[in-house]
């Protein structure tokens, strides 16, 4: 109830601002106690993993109350989320595929990228483990073993962050996936886990989605990611960027920057680390750090002296 009341008050505030707009013109502060952005809507396109784990719903109420705004979170998968932003249909993107993010930055669509949080990928499969990958400490060797054994592997096949990571892993393993054992589902992570479960197959999953769905499936983690001392190649970092107002002038840049400022603040970062599903932490914040980290703002490997490839 209190939420609705607050929204109502916020709407009144916005109305008051609008009705006095003739007097104040483009006053930066709007009315005395109401942010100038009150009543606006922020469109955030993001991945299924941040949305389906319930994290965003958990933390967004705080932002909406603080600014008197609405956040429309659209869960699309990394490729589609970036495409929406490229078309100017969203204000902020929160995704997890650094290569695609960098391309987005280089093409001028995104600005002010920040490292947000991370978790990791895990290779899951049936307990019988026909390819014998249990406990391997190399993800690429595990994939090679799966390919050699011809054991069924379910791929997302949807240009998502997880799919991109999977393709990078195959490339690093020097194996071209294909054949009867390799199945592209073209679905979200949850469905891919279900397909793998039905077929007793292996798949690559982000840890968050796997934890939130573990009770529904008979799959188990066979190769751990870096959170549980697995190989670093399975790291899963999430980044956040605002859409470049120079490219899309009607992107809500002010509110987008307010959102990035808010979600990378110490308070919200600790809310992210406190968020649990089934008693387990899903995301590890990394926006707040004592040491400078310049690489988060630019495409990976970029440097001002032009040594960038």
């Amino acid at each position: 109830m209190s939420i609705h009341r607050r929204r109502f008050v916020a709407a009144l505030g916005a109305g008051a601002v609008a009705s006095t707009a003739g007097c104040t013109q483009l006053g930066i502060g709007g009315s005395d106690d109401q942010a100038a952005v009150a009543g606006e809507t922020l469109t955030l396109t993001t991945t299924t993993s941040t949305y389906d784990t319930g994290l965003l719903d958990e933390i967004h109420t705080d932002f909406e109350e603080m600014y008197g705004v609405t956040v429309d979170a659209v869960a699309q998968g990394t490729g589609a989320a970036l495409e929406s932003a490229r078309n100017g249909d969203s204000d902020v993107v929160m995704v997890h595929a650094r290569g695609l993010e960098d391309e987005f930055l280089r093409n001028g669509y995104g600005v002010n990228r920040r490292d947000l949080m991370f978790n990791d990928f895990v290779i899951v499969g049936p307990e019988s483990d026909p390819a014998g990958i249990q406990g391997m400490d190399s993800a690429t060797e595990a994939l090679t073993a799966i390919a050699d054994a011809g054991a069924t592997f379910v791929s997302r096949g949807d240009n998502s962050g997880t799919h991109t990571k999977e393709l990078n892993l195959w490339e690093a393993a020097g194996t071209e996936p294909g054949g009867d054992w390799y199945q592209e589902t073209g679905t979200g992570m949850g469905e891919a886990l279900n397909v793998a479960n039905q077929q007793g197959a292996y798949t690559l999953s982000d840890r968050g989605t796997f934890i939130s769905q573990r009770s529904e499936v008979d799959l188990t983690i066979l190769v751990q990611g870096p959170i549980e001392d697995g190989p670093e190649i399975l790291a899963n970092p999430y980044g956040i960027m605002v859409v470049n107002p120079g490219v899309h002038e009607n992107a809500n840049y002010d509110l987008g920057m307010a959102y990035i400022g808010w979600i990378t603040s110490p308070g919200v970062q600790s809310s992210i680390s406190e968020y649990q599903v089934n008693g387990e932490q899903l995301f590890f914040p990394e926006a707040v750090s004592e040491d400078p980290d310049f690489q988060q703002y630019v495409p990976e490997g970029w440097s001002s002296d032009g040594s960038d490839a």
């Binding site: 719903d57 869960a75 078309n87 100017g88 949850g190 469905e191 769905q213 529904e216 899309h248």
Partner: protein, 238 residues
């Protein structure tokens, strides 16, 4: 067996993992979007069907086959076309319609109009010629004749509207693309419909809750059908 699963659904219904107002809000959004879209479709379709049923003009067969083809449009394709139209870069971009109910209404309008037109047309052309002749003989104008034929064809037209409604409320492809399946952080739907909510649950492997929402959708369609049929019967008595 069906009884067993129905009994199993009842506790699930009482113990849904949803916040208060969530299911209600997605039902409201589903009805709002589909009813408005079908109303708009009907306002366009019935006059078009009357025109096609009464007038002869060159290219009429072509128009008919376009409409019949429209019945088979995949909803995802319609969603993509509407997305291109309402996207910021598209012709309607300045209206900021992307990820809104209005965009969903647009795509459902495109989906519902062909079946409503085609079935209405079949109903109108199916009216016995004697009825038209009688109306003409009694000195009716063209409008009078059309009204008489429309009255005779009302069951068929009601069926047409229900078919359009059925297509609109049960499709998931286009509303997912242009609506974005959005709820607010407090769990109140903005552009989430029953179908996209079902898709979301299925994506997460929550098949049981997906089934419950599916049952709600079926119940909703059943109710709307009952209401429309009831109206039709009342029309006979008056």
């Amino acid at each position: 067996m069906p009884v067993d699963s129905a009994v199993q659904l009842v506790p699930a219904l009482l113990d849904l993992p949803f916040r208060e107002g969530y299911v209600r809000s997605i039902i409201v959004v589903s009805l709002y979007v589909s009813v408005l879209a079908v109303t708009l479709s009907t306002l366009v379709s019935v006059p078009v069907a009357v025109l096609l049923g009464f007038a002869d003009f060159p290219g009429k067969r072509f128009v008919k086959s376009v409409i019949n083809t429209g019945m088979g449009f995949p909803s995802v394709v319609v969603g993509l076309v509407v997305l291109f139209a309402v996207s910021n870069q598209g012709p309607l971009g300045s209206l900021n319609l992307i990820f809104t109910k209005e965009a969903m209404i647009m795509s459902q309008f495109v989906l519902a109009t062909p079946p409503i037109t085609a079935i209405s047309l079949a109903a109108i052309t199916g009216v016995d010629d004697g009825v038209r002749d009688a109306a003409r003989v009694l000195g009716g104008t063209r409008l009078d004749v059309a009204l008489v034929v429309l009255k005779e064809a009302r069951y068929g037209i009601a069926t047409a509207i229900l078919a359009g409604f059925g297509r609109a409320i049960s499709e998931v492809g286009s509303v997912l693309i242009v609506g974005g399946n959005i709820t607010s952080a407090d769990g109140i739907s903005k552009t989430r419909t029953l179908t996209t909510a079902i898709q979301l649950e299925a994506r997460q492997g929550q098949y049981q809750t997906a089934m419950v929402l599916g049952a709600v959708l079926v119940a909703l369609v059943l109710t709307v059908n009952a209401v429309v049929v009831r109206f039709g019967d009342r029309g006979v008595q008056s």
